[in-house]
């Protein structure tokens, strides 16, 4: 039985007359990694800023539990990295980490030790001596991660930590997160499902201020995956016509057909695959690929976001 670290109940936020977060509830277990996924404007940043104590909710509650008891001020237990971290350009990376550590309550000696450790961990050992004004976006992101972790928070909250990075930088940060999540509970937002699948075990899908789907990755995969057949046929008239008609067969629950490709949700994959192939052979249709499988989370995500 895992203990809960964060409990969010009916959290809402309105700006003037627009309700941006509409009474969402969820909890995060100690030691887990949760991803807050949603398209642009879903309300991820607004939610995260309320969790980090930087924005007063219009309604609802956020409770952080330390040793099972609610704490009055959650800030000592939280490490936060904003969507676009900004630093003092005139400070060096090492100075900023030292400053963050001391502000978070470390003694000077502890802060010095942790600064060295985290500069190494995020790969800024040499750059740490230079002014932040000359850092690249990826370096700033990594420095931001280090400042969020320097006081050993219980909960690490990251707002789109990899969105602004190139593939290499993205890989670096994700690898780092994989290591961090072994010791710290992590909540991070993203609009890329792939990032979430790579390191997280919990998913919170948000759309227009509401959580439309939540649960563990395994659970979601099991519950929502549906048998799907992906088909690709040749470019000739006969094949195209056949494919267009395939959506109408009785075993097809739902179909998405475009050009020479089709994605068919079916009741029984095996039967459907056999019938489709037999039919195709008898009509001399050229099948390029036929893949029988399950719908992916990506499909689920797109469905949840669009519907």
């Amino acid at each position: 039985m895992t203990r809960e670290l964060l409990q969010v109940k009916g959290l809402s936020k309105r700006f003037k007359d627009r309700e941006v977060v509409k009474g969402i509830s969820f909890s995060i277990a100690e030691g887990s990694c949760a991803a807050l996924i949603g398209p642009n404007g879903a309300g991820k940043t607004t939610t995260i800023r309320m969790l980090a104590g930087l924005l007063q909710p219009s309604g609802g509650s956020v409770v952080l539990l330390a040793e099972g008891r609610p704490v009055a001020d959650p800030r000592p237990y939280i490490g936060y990295l904003p969507q676009m971290p900004v630093f003092y350009p005139w400070m060096t990376g090492a100075e900023f980490l030292l400053y963050s550590g001391e502000l978070a309550g470390l003694t000077r000696r502890e802060a010095t030790r942790e600064t060295g450790k985290w500069l190494d961990a995020v790969g800024l050992r040499d750059a740490g001596k230079r002014r932040i004004g000359g850092y690249s976006g990826g370096m700033k992101q990594r420095l931001g991660l280090a400042q969020a972790l320097i006081h050993r928070p219980r909960l690490l909250i990251l707002d789109e930590p990899v969105s602004a990075l190139d593939p290499a930088g993205r890989k670096d940060v994700l690898t780092l997160l994989q290591r961090i999540r072994l010791e710290t509970t992590v909540l991070f937002s993203t609009h890329v499902l792939h990032d979430a699948e790579e390191i997280c075990d919990e998913i919170l899908m948000m759309r227009e201020g509401e959580i439309v789907l939540q649960g563990s990755l395994d659970h979601l995969r099991r519950t929502y995956s549906e048998p799907v057949i992906r088909l690709e046929v040749g470019g000739d008239e006969v094949s195209r016509a056949w494919l267009a008609a395939a959506g109408g067969k009785d075993f097809v629950v739902q179909s998405e057909i475009s050009g020479g490709r089709a994605k068919l949700r079916v009741a029984d994959v095996e039967r459907a695959a056999l019938e489709l192939m037999a039919d195709a052979v008898s009509r001399r249709v050229t099948i390029r690929t036929l893949e029988a499988g399950q719908s992916t989370l990506e499909d689920l995500f797109l469905k949840a976001v669009r519907s």
Binding site: L54, R75, I78, Y80, W90, Q147
Partner: protein
Amino acid sequence: MMQFKLFFRKEMLEMGRSYKWLWVPLVFLMLGVMQPVMTRFMPEILKSAGNMPKGMTITIAPPSGAEVLAQTLGQYSSIGILILVLSVMTMISGERQSGVSQMIFAKPVSYVSYAAAKWASMLSLVTASFALGYGGAWYYTVQIIGAVEAGAVVKAGLFYLLWLWFAGALTLLVSSLLDPAPGIAFVSLGAALLLSMASGWLPRYTVYSPGSLPQISAQWLEPAGEAKGAVGAALLCLACIFIFFAAAVYRIKLRYSKG
């Protein structure tokens, strides 16, 4: 207290690295020294400029040391205040706008310490710069113009320093309220200017106004050396500085909760 020290050290370091600790005191020193030197050499300058009909002589009554010091303070009322406002106006708004403060306030820090460090570092910069400039002015005045009574000089200087503190505190308050730097400069300078002008126009209603502090300090330098309402104005000014501070703390806190 611990956090105040951290914030204060950071502010001092920032002012150092942006060379504020160099140029603000230098400008104040220049303003201070210029007045006695110009006064002393003005007749020579006019003479060498020539262009005067033969036989005509101008006699400018040489001003006393106290008068020269009063004129120096007049310099600070215009250019001095301008420099002061420009050098501190983005201390709060800048961090809010860039977003650094997001990261700072996500840490368990106190808003009061944060604002107090801003106030303390602003007061240090103003005090050091003015002390240097006014000290320079006093030294040169004594050297090349004539002696001034030390008590009057110190009193005038202290009251004028209060006025500069007031202007700095006002600027920081505006910096916590507004975002655009030109707006902050405009509002702070405008308010300071209005206050000091109001004291000239409506002396009866502004006896204790902080805007009358420049006049009070000039009065200390007059031969009679008696200033009306000095204590009241000083107390009210200190109260204002404190109120501005409290309002800024409240404002900074609010900004981070209302979004």
